[in-house]
């Protein structure tokens, strides 16, 4: 009974969204379903937090090897949550006219989150250089082509490579060869998405039951 209801509900909602794309008369229904979706996704954030909480508390209870990381994660999550909810997101007015002080939430975000995130991302440059040295070998004709293309695009991407016909070759690789490959991938992925969507709408696949 419950399964039939879920399949029917999914089918009706999916069909309504598809039909509204072609039938303007159903636009109101599409708008309503979109708003429902936004509300459901907003609540899923809470669900995600609950899931993180349960998984990490279980790790701590079982004295898993990652226990220290779980403790740091839970402390960080609650500190950010409390700083946002208790101290607010609006700027605190100071006694000096027309001057605002950062909130605690902003302060933590700007001084911890921003530098740590950008540090993690910047480490990529080091690992790419190391990986390029160790693994980027012209072992096969295909690998050689990839290597030459990477060589030309990397050079054409920066001002130091703006000489001879390097920028034109880089543009040719990016706009002709790359675009052709990207289009093929996109169209293939889109067809796959259509078939998966149909399977879900028809109840052949039911990811919501997992």
């Amino acid at each position: 009974m419950q399964r039939n209801f879920l399949v029917a509900f999914t089918f009706i909602c999916g069909l309504a969204m598809i039909a509204s794309f072609f039938m303007p008369i159903l636009q109101g229904l599409q708008d309503m379903l979109s708003k429902f979706g936004i509300i459901v996704i907003s609540f899923s954030l809470l669900l995600g937090m609950g899931s993180i909480l349960v998984v990490n508390v279980q790790k701590i209870q079982r004295r898993h090897a990652d226990t220290p990381y779980s403790i740091v994660l839970l402390i960080a999550m609650f500190v950010m949550l409390v700083s946002g909810i208790v101290f607010g997101i609006k700027p605190v007015e100071s006694r000096i006219e027309s001057v605002t002080l950062e909130t605690l939430f902003d302060y933590l975000f700007q001084t911890i989150m921003v530098p740590m995130s950008s540090t993690m991302f910047s480490l990529l440059a080091f690992f790419i250089a190391s990986a390029a040295y160790r693994a980027f070998r012209a072992r096969t004709p295909e690998a050689t082509m990839l290597l030459v293309a990477a060589f030309l695009v990397m050079l054409g991407q920066v001002p130091i490579g703006n000489f001879w016909v390097i920028p034109q070759i880089k543009d040719f690789i990016m706009e002709v060869i790359n675009t052709a490959g990207q289009r093929a991938i996109m169209i293939g992925a889109a067809l796959g998405l259509v078939s998966v969507s149909l399977r879900i709408l028809l109840g052949i696949e039911r990811p919501y039951e997992q």
């Binding site: 997101i89 609006k90 027309s98 975000f109 080091f126 070998r137 991407q157 920066v158 706009e175």
Partner: protein, 299 residues
């Protein structure tokens, strides 16, 4: 010896990369940056410069987080400066939770690095009394720019705000009703915007804006993304679904050059040039060592 070079200690590589980035930042080489005429960045610049009317309104979605701000902040700063120069109003929003704060940072950077003095509002949405320094032009929150903040829902947010901005974003990022602001009180949906700009570091990002805003609602859209994801968006550019595209720090530097307002991206291009050269050097040298080893082993 050759084996040692083939299996070079990665710490040596790390130190060389660090120096390749650090030295050009400390001692700039001032390499000339030449944006490609008619290229993706030039098209983005020309669209905002020629096709968006003076006094028009632009929607800018900040779909990135601090991990990628080095690449995306400079293009956001350059575009906001460009908008303010042409008296174009900017409405910021975010599909990423950290995006709203990234937008705030961009407005602060525009204030600190341009002739514009951004005047905020208080907690009731009333404009603060701020002394405008001599030589600076005031841009008022609520009249010239607004930050709508973050909304969960990804593609559904775009679909919903396309026709009903007021109910999709009833409050701005600080909890003030957007009906209080002259800039947003009469905007019903995408019809109220002359151009949409998405600065994206992943999903949700440019693909869903193309699918809904550019394709379904036929709105002009410009994209900005990290260098690593730019090749994936060239089909949208060629199909005309994107009016322009800025990829990574180079894209931002090109925009700064076109705007004649050099910023952090232009300054970073020297470091990026040397780092790219170093990686090319590593690839060439490692292949020479590799083939020398194979020849010695008679393979």
């Amino acid at each position: 010896m050759l084996d040692k070079l083939v299996n070079l200690d990665r710490r040596i590589i790390f130190v060389m990369v660090a120096l390749a980035v650090l030295i050009p930042l400390l001692f700039p080489l001032h390499m000339p940056i030449a944006p490609l005429p008619g290229g993706p960045v030039d098209r983005a610049y020309q669209y905002l410069d020629k096709r968006v009317p003076e006094g028009g309104t632009v929607l800018m979605s900040f779909d990135y987080d601090p991990a990628t701000f080095v690449e995306l902040d400079p293009m956001a700063v350059a575009m906001v400066k460009h908008c303010f120069q042409r008296n174009i109003k900017v409405v910021a929003m975010a599909l990423w939770p950290q995006g709203a704060t990234m937008a705030e940072n961009v407005f602060k950077m525009v204030k600190d690095t341009s002739k514009f003095e951004l005047v905020p509002v208080d907690r009731n949405g009333v404009t603060r009394s701020v002394v405008i320094p001599a030589g600076k032009t005031a841009k008022y929150y609520g009249k010239d720019y607004v930050n709508l903040g973050y909304k969960a829902g990804q593609i559904l947010v775009i679909q919903s705000m396309a026709k009903d901005l007021q109910n999709t974003f009833p409050l701005d990022s600080q909890g003030v009703s957007i009906k209080q602001f002259n800039l947003t009180k009469n905007i019903r949906g995408f019809d109220g915007f002359d151009l949409l700009i998405d600065l994206s570091a992943g999903d949700p990002g440019i693909p869903i804006w193309v699918q809904v805003a550019a394709t379904q609602f036929n709105k002009p859209l410009i994209g900005g993304c990290t260098a690593v994801s730019a090749p994936g968006f060239t089909p949208y550019l060629q199909a005309g679904q994107l009016k322009g595209l800025m990829g990574g720090m180079r894209g931002a530097a090109d925009y700064e050059v076109l705007l004649k307002a050099p910023g952090t991206a232009s300054r970073g291009m020297d470091a990026q040039s040397i780092a790219h050269l170093l990686i090319i050097f590593f690839i060439v040298v490692s292949n020479i060592f590799y083939f020398s080893t194979r020849r010695r082993e008679g393979k």
